[in-house]
Amino acid sequence: MRARHVTDQLWRGFGLVVVLFMLAPLFLVVLFSFNESALTSLPLTGLTLHWYEKLFAYNSFWPALKNSLIVGFTVAVCSVVIGTSAALALSVMPPRRAGNIINALSLPVMLPALIIGISLICYFVRFLDIRLSLLTVILGHLVIAQPFVLLIVYARMATFDHAVVESARDLGASTFTAFRTVTLPIIQPTIVGAALIALSLSLDDFVITFFTIGGGNTLPTLVWGLVRTSLDPTINAIATLLIALSIGSTIVALQLSRYRG
């Protein structure tokens, strides 16, 4: 009994170490965005909002934020419409067949973003002969955001009572009316959650954006440029904003979709 107690303590200690490993680096990035010294090193020299002022006064920041938001919201809306539609259809199929289709559609998540990015640039520029723009970035993000929406909504539909939709149909509602008045209100929190996950994915993507954007910046490509040229806490300030945006939307998404792993 005693031996088992000790191993339990060891497991808990290991869990604590992993939690620290996961949180400490992000915490340090946020901490140094408020530190006076221009060096990101200990000890702390005092609190300041100077780095945020410098960031907001930076010419390239606002266009990059605008681009990020345009791309992010378009990707969120499109991937939710496409992904939910597919998830609903898959939820009434035999689970085995649905599982196979979902596995296939999830392949883009497994592939390195570099390969997706460069195959897209060849395809857009050489094969389709279209100019790179925010549109091509949006198309690129759809490829990686769609599987997440599909998986989240499909998981929700596992506990969905299809009988309520059938009764609506029996009472004369069209497929669309039944969806709008019955299915949608029930799964709405999950859909909003999935949209926010798609938004965070898009806001965070660097590699695919880098290849498909042509000119201009989004927040991650701006960070890339900053990290390459300088190392001052302005980067910590923009990184903190990115963390706040993506973690904030993830937390809201989790609350709404009640997704628990």
Binding site: T7, I101, Y123, I243, S249
Partner: protein
């Protein structure tokens, strides 16, 4: 029949039109040639031969580093998922929450975080000189293979925890209790009950960690320095070299060799749990 399929059509269109078609076109390009800086349709394997001749050693290094990251990430992820499921008690949901929020904590942000921890003026060096463990800041932490392994393991860990936890969640406590009551040692319970039932989750975690690190180029460039990986050389074919056919052949070479290793890992795992 048609009514049941049309809602999937847009998703299938995105998948086929923006993922499969670009990849197929990209594969075709790998057999093209470049003359006077212009791509020409061709049917040559010269690019693949050049990949092995010029980048053979880089390929091996990349696969070795990716394997190290794959093992480290899967092992840590399994341990952590195991703690969430069986050992953390009421703290389990909180640990899962930490995993989920760090999932989207930002790819560049995470790399930058480790750059500022491991760098010469970094937090680790300041802490070590501060307590007098080393005399002056050391450049040994950053721009090394270890830095790449740590940073990518850090980035991939939450992605690896989720599929393993998903598999562990469906294990019935009663089965484990029964095994223990019948006198099975903890190690035997782990080997004969826990691991076989989360084989799928372990495979997904390893595959994800291995493939993504084999194709990464941002981490090696920021924290790797001398540790040159394949992704770096593929990216330069597009940003500086403009030799797309060569870049394409390199991409498919690393992709196929990575898949061979993933399949080997799968076979090893199968053999280990079914003696």
């Amino acid at each position: 029949m048609a009514r049941r399929w049309w809602p999937i059509a847009p998703a299938a269109l995105v998948f086929l039109g923006l993922f499969v078609a670009p990849l197929v076109y990209f594969l075709i390009i790998s057999f093209w040639s470049v003359k006077a800086r212009m791509m020409r349709p061709d049917l040559t394997v010269a690019n693949y031969i050049a990949t092995w001749v010029e980048y053979g050693d880089v390929l091996v290094t990349t696969l070795a580093i990716a394997a190290a990251i794959g093992f480290a990430t899967t092992l840590l992820a399994f341990g952590f998922a195991y703690v969430i499921r069986f050992k953390a008690g009421p703290l389990g949901p909180l640990l899962l929450f930490v995993t989920l929020i760090t999932l989207f904590g930002g790819y560049l942000v995470k790399i930058y975080a480790w750059k500022s921890i491991l760098g010469i003026d970094g937090i680790l060096n300041m802490a070590l000189t501060g307590i007098g463990l080393i005399d002056e800041p050391s450049g040994a932490f950053i721009y090394s293979t270890n830095a790449v392994v740590i940073t990518l393991t850090y980035f991939l860990l939450p992605f690896a925890v989720l599929p393993i936890y998903g598999a562990l969640r469906s294990i019935d406590d009663a089965t484990m209790e029964a095994a223990r009551d019948l006198g099975a040692k903890p190690l035997a319970v782990m080997r004969d009950i826990v691991i076989p039932q989360c084989e799928g989750g372990i495979m997904v975690a390893f595959t994800l960690a291995f493939l993504i690190s084999a194709g990464d180029y941002v981490t090696p460039r920021f924290v790797g320095g001398g540790a040159s990986m394949m992704g770096h050389f593929i990216e330069t074919q597009f940003s500086i070299g403009f030799d797309w056919p060569m870049g394409s052949a390199m991409s498919f070479t690393i992709l196929v060799t990575s898949l061979v290793i993933v399949m080997a890992f799968r076979a090893l795992l199968r053999r280990a749990i079914r003696p």
